[in-house]
Amino acid sequence: MTTARRMSASVAAPEGVGIEVAEQFADATQQRHAAQLGMWAWLLTELLLFAGLFLCAAVLHVTHPAAVARAARHLKVWIGAANTAVLICSSLTMTGAITASRHGWRRWMLRCLLATAALGTLFLLLKGFEYYQDYLEHMTPFLDRPYALAGEPATRLYIDLYFLTTALHALHLTTGVAILLGMTWIARKPRFLHRHQNWIEVYGLYWHFIDLIWIMVFTLIYVVPR
């Protein structure tokens, strides 16, 4: 087993913190860099996916400004803001898990991972409540029921885009919480940090990226078009 630490670390790797080198890698540093690069390559495809949706929102805003502003004012900006704060908190707890894993503090790492999963779940519950409120207010044009802004067809495009973007993000978050809980289950084993500390680092990138995307969703879809 070879011990490797992230380059940002300012202290030497504590005993029992490292990664098990797979046979295709020359050393732990190469394996760690490959894992980080692989995650970044995937995150960039995700960025391009969401960027396409943000671009659609911008084009709608330019072509139908009044309708988009009217539709955006029906969105639950306070729930969106609360959810943004929840995800910012979850990024801090995820950083706590990464920091603890670098020092070999297993109990703090597990607590922070569970706190991150709990905050992710809270986000999803708030999102579900928001969707329910949209349903009650007849702001679901894709369903076979009356639509509150039926007189303005362009609003339908924007509301459909809102649901598509937020549902896609929620899907990513649901997957993220599931992976997080699975990883926490595995990480409870005493020797986890001896062999797989970089799992926490790589997963942390994904979680921070989900946070980053939501900050963009909230600002570009909920607030700016108002």
Binding site: F54, V59, L205
Partner: protein
């Protein structure tokens, strides 16, 4: 390799996360400013300020949460390339709409 650390108190953990806590506070301030501008004073000027704040928040996450500056050069190149590509995508499309 140093000796294994003993588990610290919450304060001890937070002392190792000063940069992350500062980034957390900055993100919350940014969020508050965006909400106030968007809800209380929506206008074209406030939209520009909100977009600047958004860029600052994205940069904060990339620099301090995702620790891009500490990544190897190839990964830094990849992350920069992705955002540059998005800037080209958005910039050229909106340029078309704004100049019609």
């Amino acid at each position: 390799m140093s000796a294994p650390d003993t588990e610290p108190s919450l304060g001890g953990l937070l002392r190792h996360m000063r940069v992350a806590v500062a980034a957390f506070a900055a993100l919350l301030v940014g969020l508050g400013a965006i909400v106030v501008l968007g809800v209380v004073a929506p206008s074209s000027a406030s939209s520009v300020i909100m977009l600047v704040l958004l860029a600052a928040m994205v940069a904060t996450v990339l620099l301090f949460s995702m620790e891009v500056p500490q990544e190897p050069p190839l990964t830094r190149f990849f992350s920069g390339l992705g955002f540059a590509w998005v800037a080209i995508l958005v910039g050229m499309t909106l340029l078309d709409y704004f100049t019609r």
